[in-house]
Symmetry: C2
Amino acid sequence: MQMQTELSRALRAKLDHFMAFSDAEAGRLETLPVRMQTFEARRTLIHEGEHQRVAYVVIEGWGCRFKSLANGEHQVVGFPLPGDFLGLRSTLFHVSDLSCMSLSPLRVAVLEPDILWKLFETEPRVGMAFLWSMARDEAVIVEHLTSIGQRSSLAAMAHFFLETLDRLKMIGREGQNNSFACPVNQEQLADALGISNVHVNRILRELRERQLVTFQGSVVIIHDIEALSEIAGYEGSYLDGKAPGLPY
Amino acid sequence: MQMQTELSRALRAKLDHFMAFSDAEAGRLETLPVRMQTFEARRTLIHEGEHQRVAYVVIEGWGCRFKSLANGEHQVVGFPLPGDFLGLRSTLFHVSDLSCMSLSPLRVAVLEPDILWKLFETEPRVGMAFLWSMARDEAVIVEHLTSIGQRSSLAAMAHFFLETLDRLKMIGREGQNNSFACPVNQEQLADALGISNVHVNRILRELRERQLVTFQGSVVIIHDIEALSEIAGYEGSYLDGKAPGLPY
DNA sequence: CGCCTAGTTGAGGTAAGTCAATTCACGTGG
DNA sequence: CCACGTGAATTGACTTACCTCAACTAGGCG
């Protein structure tokens, strides 16, 4: 039971922003038969191109999804946080198009595909919530694409920090005064934003000197959200799917 | 009836690569109550930030999904082709995070959400096929992200041409000798690849001079697929979800 | 014929890359 | 407790891929 409540807590911290579950639905989530698994930091959970049978839900810790290129470069696609799915798409393809590693110690719930599909049938509203989660993931990737394609590296970095803070706030894992623990190193940040690690370092210095953000000792502190949002052109409504001023 | 077979033909041209439909399932697709709609070239079907109730399936023509930024820049996220869904995610969010315009005259089938959700319930395998389609869309976006983030603009351009040719081949709409009609202009190509239109022009010239690709008069001709794939680091298995050497 | 949009090319500037050296943080063993 | 090793962060010097601006050309069409 401890295990199931862990899964349900992680999922609902995220999905409650989309849908109010009934007690019955919540109970069904509680009793989903899953097993837990814990990885040390820097372990590869999912290997690009390899057979992928099960999906995961992150319970605790940060992950890193990335694509490897022939020339040894990497493109980081995103950083899964508690409540996020891993390899959900891959269970459809049977093969993963991305690798996924743990950045910190990572605790996950392992979901057998059968259980997942059965859940879709018996709990259509929960299925909807999962779909919503996939849709949000795509919205995040589209923002990411926009950052790399159109924003300056300063704006892209600012955007990343703001988005990550909001994602953490949604699941109640932010720190005090707009700060958060961030187990991402400059190399990974570089691969995420499509710039060099040297340049990441210089952008971080600029953000620090301009009193906007400090990122030191694996902790990000955002000093001036207003100014940073202005620079990034950040508007986080794509995270919760509620547009300002529209009834839902 | 003409209408339904149009929809079913467009969908199956794409989805047959993933799943063999039974006669019963095919019949159910045929009788889906949908209405058709046709847009002239350069019309905006979906407006970013606006209420979005219905989804579409492209029957004929090219679309262009893009995000607009405050500074007037655009990020093109992809070019929907026949068989592709438009605004499917938006029906969940109720609000679209992207705009979508027609590049050529565009014929679409309009899907009411209720019908869609009912289809998911009554035809779970068709629902799976739609999910697969969404998953493939995301795989394409991830490749796109990788192009912009890691590949040189030459390689990114090469990648775009190769991927588009393969997508068209899958739905039987390629031209002769690895060519295809392409209603995308250099400006839109620039916004897709995150480079300037001037640079697009120079890259196209280089591709032409190296006898790899010509893109003139809205027709793309790929002269040397091998060499181009080498340059792009292209490997199209993410499009059909079948990894080389793995049983499906 | 002239307008309008898209494409093409040149010249010069800049954001970001590469290479390489140095410093820092931290864990480990003597 | 200090010497050492290792990986990450930092900084400088130089290079380059791509951008901006601006002019010019080519084609489609009322």
